[in-house]
Symmetry: C2
Subunit: 491 residues, 2 copies
Amino acid sequence: MSKGLPKRNEDYSLWYNELVKRADLAENSPVRGCMIIKPYGFSIWEKMQAALDKMFKDTGHTNAYFPIFIPKSYLSKEASHVEGFAKECAVVTHYRLKNAPDGSGVIVDPEAKLEEELIIRPTSETVIWSAYKNWVQSYRDLPILLNQWANVVRWEMRTRIFLRTAEFLWQEGHTAHATAKEAQEETLQMLEVYATFAEQHLALPVIRGVKTPNERFAGAEDTYCIEALMQDGKALQAGTSHFLGQNFAKAFDVKFANKEGKLDYVWGTSWGVSTRLMGALIMAHSDDEGLVLPPKLAPIQVVIVPIFKGEEQLAKISEKVQVVRNELLAKGISVKFDTRDTHSPGYKFADYELKGVPVRIAIGPRDLENGTAEVARRDTKEKKVYALEGLANHIETLLEDIQQNIYNKALAFRQANTTKVDSYAEFKEVLDSKGGFVLAHWDGTSETEEIIKDETKATIRCIPINAQPEEGKCMYSGKPSSRRVVFARAY
Amino acid sequence: MSKGLPKRNEDYSLWYNELVKRADLAENSPVRGCMIIKPYGFSIWEKMQAALDKMFKDTGHTNAYFPIFIPKSYLSKEASHVEGFAKECAVVTHYRLKNAPDGSGVIVDPEAKLEEELIIRPTSETVIWSAYKNWVQSYRDLPILLNQWANVVRWEMRTRIFLRTAEFLWQEGHTAHATAKEAQEETLQMLEVYATFAEQHLALPVIRGVKTPNERFAGAEDTYCIEALMQDGKALQAGTSHFLGQNFAKAFDVKFANKEGKLDYVWGTSWGVSTRLMGALIMAHSDDEGLVLPPKLAPIQVVIVPIFKGEEQLAKISEKVQVVRNELLAKGISVKFDTRDTHSPGYKFADYELKGVPVRIAIGPRDLENGTAEVARRDTKEKKVYALEGLANHIETLLEDIQQNIYNKALAFRQANTTKVDSYAEFKEVLDSKGGFVLAHWDGTSETEEIIKDETKATIRCIPINAQPEEGKCMYSGKPSSRRVVFARAY
């Protein structure tokens, strides 16, 4: 199965596309820029959803659902918001088809034209804040802590499966608060939820930072983000959390009476992660044999492959396997026992490697005699023989080790590919030779940021929130700077 | 809170609308025909989703995700399918907005017109079968057992919150099989899954039946359904399961090589339930005081209301409550302890009645002395005092009793409102006096069915799958009939 998967160091982009396809994660649909998420891919997304949903609920949020359609006039109410999204909107203009008079099929019925065009949500701030106007009268109605799991559409010109698609799945949190401080705390709390999720579930170390004004969400006062490094040295923004200030409250006239009875505009936040995380997961850990999945997100954590000839041998192996399998299931570990006789063990090994199953157990006739099994871990490809007695306990620990090891490996990679530079020449040299995160001084102006972006295709990924103050000079302009920011070429 | 909720027997329709609003389940959005599902309503929907999703997975299905956009040409490939959906399609024609030259806001950019219009999915058969074409070569690729949780859009002219909305949430199963028999078995299996879910979770007895050709899904060979009776005597179709024959396989050229190596078209099914079930749940059980929720779907199963004056008394009550609360939580029962001092116990009682919380526990100073609590059940409004010792065990049993009682009550209602009639005069009389399900003989023709519908607004809800053969004469035409069918006026 894994034969012929392109090598990462030869063509990273082709490797990614082929891996997504061969591991049966997703495929491009005939609808331009849209993807079909196949069952195996979707089951990973479901694990992400479940973990995130629990974290949202543990921090006091509840789910709700708002319409997919946004009246065109709503989008226009927040000036920078419409500026940011107008260029990539799918627009519904009609509500009926009819048979073509010439019998050639169906056509749009020109008589069924909407009075006002509807936009398919690219994000839901406008439709949600228009509802909040009716929900909020006094400080007693605050905070509102909502989340929505939904599909959104942004008509991107250049798409890439999982990373940038016209339609994608995501969650969008939308909260409303009585004070700026509370909204800012919420913004940072959700950033931390995302960072924790990335590190503990995706096994992906991230930099927590704030975007420059140029890179802010359209309509936000501040955009915080988590940034991860992929194996090709490019950065990937894995989640954002926005402090909206009173921008949407003003646009939709959402006021509340505070404890003193004085009217004020409500403070807002929004935050989201999407199926883009699937791309991050794949690109961060996988190798030339296929996916490498952290156990916490693997749909199948353990696969058991019997090595047998004939029914009788399989029956004997199955008897032993059932014991181990039940022990594993009792620990909440997902197990697949692949008894197919239509495929060889070698084929199965390669296929489960391709699919990223963290642990493979093989049991053959000799193991039966010895009361043993061969355990192979996907991340290091290490194989060892263990006694069946106590095997489940060993696997439990092993899964934890694998989760941690995948994280450690990604962290070591990031450390090896994070470079401090002090001159623009060095900056360009590092970008071209190895890429990665480049820490450099910047004068804080949009002009310099734009020039660097134009000349090198590197953007300021973020200003790390835990950055140490350090006096220096902007690598481009030589003007003073008080701390380094993170540059990278990015997805 | 519940003051002023309209009475069911005075204005059922107004009662329903007001209940949806006051119990904070959902509201109409400014976007025509679309609804906002509010957190409390959505948490009930999440419970439905979780239960159904488990049932789907237990029967071998996995989730996937297909694009929301359907190229117009796809919809046209299955003749009766496009016939059924063309009249209610939201059509995307453009992909960009731009600033109006006169500065009046944003307008649709006429230069960003799509080459082919895209339909927002009203259902996904076409986009899914176009993918199946590439997924299926041989019998080894079958069956495909997929489900999708998604939003769909049908541009209905007359909408009603939860029951009929332009956008709604649903799940749609789409399966592909090697034989007609297997597909038919799948169709009936999923009908039974829906019926079991309705009866065991919604506490709603349903009739399992098959639709007449007139009422079939557009593109199906057979449409099976579950039909429930609401308290106003109207029927509600709560779920459908379609045997698609080879219709979509032929439309999208999905062929497979069978075991003998011969090419044949694949056999299909599709099946779905939607947020309409929320409407069914509300209308079947609730009363003039508010929602009545079956415990299995109640977001809060038990609410504990302390009756106290001052912090000290509350602290003493809380101490006792924590013990009971932990015992309940350990049993997997959801509990809310409402310690707010901003609202009176009476206000809280009425509010939780409105919200349909199945069990309310009240604890006051006298209970503290006696080691007791007052337990009120929402369904019968019965109140009793119990010892705190052993209370959790009692509540556990009580929740099961309530679940069963709500079902029994709905079943008794249905029995009392199911009438056998043998003449058309009697038929009309029953429909006008009490409504309900009317069992009558029908000659099997679409003509008779249409006339009865036009004259009485009653439709054939289904031909029950377990109907006993019974020779008789069509109540309208007098022609022979071999069994009774179920008529009703319906939502």
